[in-house]
Amino acid sequence: MIKLELKNIVRNPLVLILVLFLFVFILFASYSGKSRVDKQLEGIELVKTKENTFYTNHKNNLKFIENGTKEAPKRVFEDPTNPVAMGNYYGGTYLTVTPAPLSVISNGQSDIFPYYSKVNIGGTNAEKDNDNFENPMNIATGGFDLAFVFVFILPLLIIAFSYNILSSEREQGTLRLLLSMPINIKTWLLKKIMFRYFFLVLLISALLTLSLSIIGANFLNTSYLILLSSIVLYTLFWFGLAFLINLLNKSSSQNIILLLGTWLLFVLIIPSFVNILASSMYPSPSRVEYITSKRAIEKEFEKKEEAILQKFYEDNPSEKDKENDATDRFRTYWNKNFILLNEKNKFMDAFESKYENQSMNQREFANKLSWFSPAIIFQNTMNEIAETDTQHYLSFQNSTKTFQKEWTAYFYNKYKNHQKLTVEDFNNFPKQKNN
């Protein structure tokens, strides 16, 4: 029977066309995924070069200054011995999101969240200023990535592959012949479906592996196994559905309509309703309100500044003496600023988190309801494998905040003790731990 089935499938021109299309889609999607990842890698390279050039130049200057062959520059921002000048202003380090090995499989949220952030004493710019500059029309349309091919297109191919297994027999008049044979029609159908299922799963795995090796992605890891097993499960779901609908014993056209209806339901309608439900239960924060409130709260902080300094000096009387000692404008300013920056960060974080939490609740709620549709689960899994899901970008933004503290502490220590930076120090600046 298997031999016959195989012959049937291979000889069917429709199947050949479908296979061909599937291959073209997978290959194209892999390529466009790769070009997106390449663009990201290029951008990372650029920011890293920029940072390295800045610090190498200053380090070289510092060598001359230490030798005594050059004098420290007059402008304080250009002085490589000054910790604040090197840790702030034009200085600072770029934190980046390194693409996952299988990042090509899903665009996810990569086109709306920035993949790098400049961190210095002044703060981070993870949430702003480094927009991705993609056409909003293209962002709204979404890309042709592997996630799209598997989540949206694959079920349609499965439908085309299995909508008429039973009905075609009836329409050709061979059903009676079949019924007259000593076999259970359900087992017969199940066998047929199973065969097609294994055929398609093997085909996809082969095509996917081939495409990924053509574009040179690294797929020798457990994520790839997870991806393959999700494909296996997702495909199983759609074949199972096709099996049930075949059992209803309707005409081929009715089968297509029913299957297409379920496709719309799982792929478009349930996700839309979950989205609507989540965003009406937990509305996204209003950013227009945020903008004006932020202004108000910044003003409020300004009013508090004197009191904060007062309190700080009361708690740390030794700092107060230093304050009086400060002679130049630069130190007077930074003595205060270091104290205030820390407080301001705390103050603003408390304000921001109110807005962040609102979106967080919405996301959590939507994730809870994702079980209503295998399409959502599959899409989420692929985003997670590709590390392009919202959560990944948000934790990147959080890690920049943590790192910013480490960075500031390093330079503040030097500054506080009136230390001049040495060439050795330049090699010891805090570095991003590889995530």
């Binding site: 194209f28 466009s32 070009s35 997106r36 290029e42 951008g43 650029l46 920011v47 920029k50 996810g108 709306i112 920035p114 790098y116 927009d131 500059f133 056409n135 909003p136 029309m137 293209n138 962002i139 709204a140 979404g142 890309g143 042709f144 949206f152 297109i153 349609l156 085309a160 008429n164 056209s253 478009l268 309608i269 996700p271 839309s272 979950v274 989205n275 609507i276 989540a278 965003s279 009406s280 509305p283 996204s284 209003s286 950013r287 227009v288 309100e289 903008i291 004006t292 202004r295 003003k299 979106s359 919405q362 996301r363 939507a366 994702s370 959502i376 899409q379 985003n383 899901d389 919202t390």
Partner: protein
């Protein structure tokens, strides 16, 4: 005769359980999505008005300071929400909602709504436009795919033809029948949409815009009706006809838009943010900086001013040198930012042309562009906003740079100009998207031609 056929067709369709079920589902989706977007629209509108007033209040009460430090303090322009975003929210979610206006630099619009939403907001977004543009064609396909094939399969076609009905009349009658069944569903929805617009704070031309969206939609549906009829006449079995039509829908609504997005990204690459900012920085360094008196450019500017007025030092100038220098710097900075943004916008426009080109394969792309253009939720209206915000920024900063010397207070700030947004007029919209409308008509005509051809090819026997 034609009417008779049409009547019979409608009656059959209405009796059809499948049609009833699908129409009711679509109707629920449409009404539901309209209510949801009306609700959001009202809320967002309220927020924007409050924010705009609050921002002005903050500007006026920013305290005593010099006029130029007020320019650094800056203010915000909020993007107004067009009324027709009720029907088609277009790209709004993916575009920033406000622009920070400050001295020396042009900021782009920030805070996109999408970054605050759950991931599903990108997966599928149920809006009236989505149902109208993506789902309605499916209904049309289901209405028309077997209009002739069943007659062929059951042999009734020959019966009808032998009774003296001409093929042409039969096709025309069936087409009208499908139209009538479709309009029966659509007209109440169209009226509902009309009511929502009337009851919200609609502006000049909004109703006409809505009318244009409806006309384009009807043309768009016409294309699908034509294709369904033609395929049904041409195909031997209902099954085959259905598969062909669904494949077309899949290509038009699903594959082509996404393919186009990826292709346009490759043919017209956008710069990476770091390169973009580097270029701006280099160009800025190339001109006058209003805060740097010692730079070569500033000295040259001073000398030229001195020679022009024939005096020996800036104290003797009849004009305020520092204000002029600041304004000269501002002018240079404005040009640099404007050039950079124009370049980026040009890339976007080129990418949109690729979308337009691919509309020859997919009428859905065309319809989507048309509907967001008429709804004022496309890129062009966003540029209109950024452009006007930039003009306003220029005027405001220059009035501050030329303002009184020394400290100014609330009285002065109250007199500063306010940001008044002028939305794109209907004639501007039509001028810009006349080509899209024309392509849609071409699609309609060509698909109509296909129907005529299929009849003449004598496939009906």
């Amino acid at each position: 005769m034609i009417l008779l056929i049409a009547k019979k067709e409608v009656r059959e369709l209405l009796r059809n359980n499948r049609f009833r079920l699908i129409s009711i589902t679509l109707l629920i989706l449409l009404v539901f999505s309209m209510f949801i977007s009306w609700n959001t629209h009202k809320k967002v509108l309220q927020e924007h008005q409050t924010a705009q007033n609050l921002a002005r209040e903050q500007w006026e009460n920013q305290g005593k300071k010099s006029a130029h430090s007020a320019a650094h303090y800056g203010t915000f322009a909020f993007k107004p929400i067009p009324t027709l975003s009720l029907i088609d929210n277009g790209l709004n979610k993916y575009l920033g909602v406000s622009i920070f206006l400050e001295a020396h630099r042009q900021n782009s619009a920030s805070y996109k709504q999408i970054t605050d939403q759950n991931d599903l907001a990108r997966f599928a977004d149920l809006s009236p436009a989505f149902v109208f543009i993506f789902l309605m064609p499916l209904l049309i396909i289901l209405l028309g795919f077997n209009s002739f094939t069943t007659e062929k399969e059951s042999g009734t076609l020959q019966l009808i033809l032998s009774q003296g009905a001409s093929k042409r009349k039969l096709v025309l009658g069936k087409t009208i029948g499908i139209w009538l069944a479709l309009l029966l569903l659509l007209i109440p929805v169209f009226i509902l949409g009309f009511c929502f617009i009337v009851f919200s704070d609609y502006g000049n031309g909004d109703l006409l815009r809505y009318g244009f969206i409806l006309i384009s939609l009807l043309l768009y549906y016409g294309i699908f009706i034509h294709l369904s009829i033609a395929t049904s006449v041409w195909a031997k079995s209902s099954n085959f006809s259905l598969i062909i039509l669904l494949s077309f829908w899949m290509i038009s609504a699903l594959l082509m838009p996404k393919l186009t997005a990826d292709i346009s990204k490759k043919t017209h690459r956008t710069p990476s943010p770091i390169v973009y900012q580097k270029n701006i920085k280099e160009e800025l360094a190339d001109g006058i900086n209003g805060h740097d008196l010692s730079s070569k450019k500033a000295i040259a500017f001073k000398d030229s001013l001195l020679t022009k007025h024939n005096v020996s030092s800036i104290d003797k100038l009849p004009v305020n040198f520092y204000q002029l220098l600041m304004q000269a710097g501002e002018k240079h900075e404005t040009t640099v930012y404007k050039n950079a943004m124009t370049q980026l916008n040009n890339i976007y426009i080129e990418q949109l042309k690729i979308h337009q080109l691919n509309a020859f394969i997919s009428p859905t792309i065309l319809m989507r562009m048309l509907s967001m253009q008429f709804a004022n939720t496309d890129l062009q209206s966003h540029y209109n906003f950024t452009y006007q915000a930039e003009e306003y920024r220029g005027a405001l900063i220059s009035s501050l740079n030329n303002g009184p010397k020394g400290v100014v207070n609330t009285d002065f700030f109250k007199k500063n100009i306010k940001f008044e947004y002028q939305p794109i007029t209907l004639s501007q919209t039509i001028e810009k998207n006349a080509s899209n409308l024309m392509y849609l008509i071409i699609w309609w005509l060509l698909s109509g031609l296909l129907v005529i051809l299929s009849v003449q090819k004598n496939k009906l026997k």
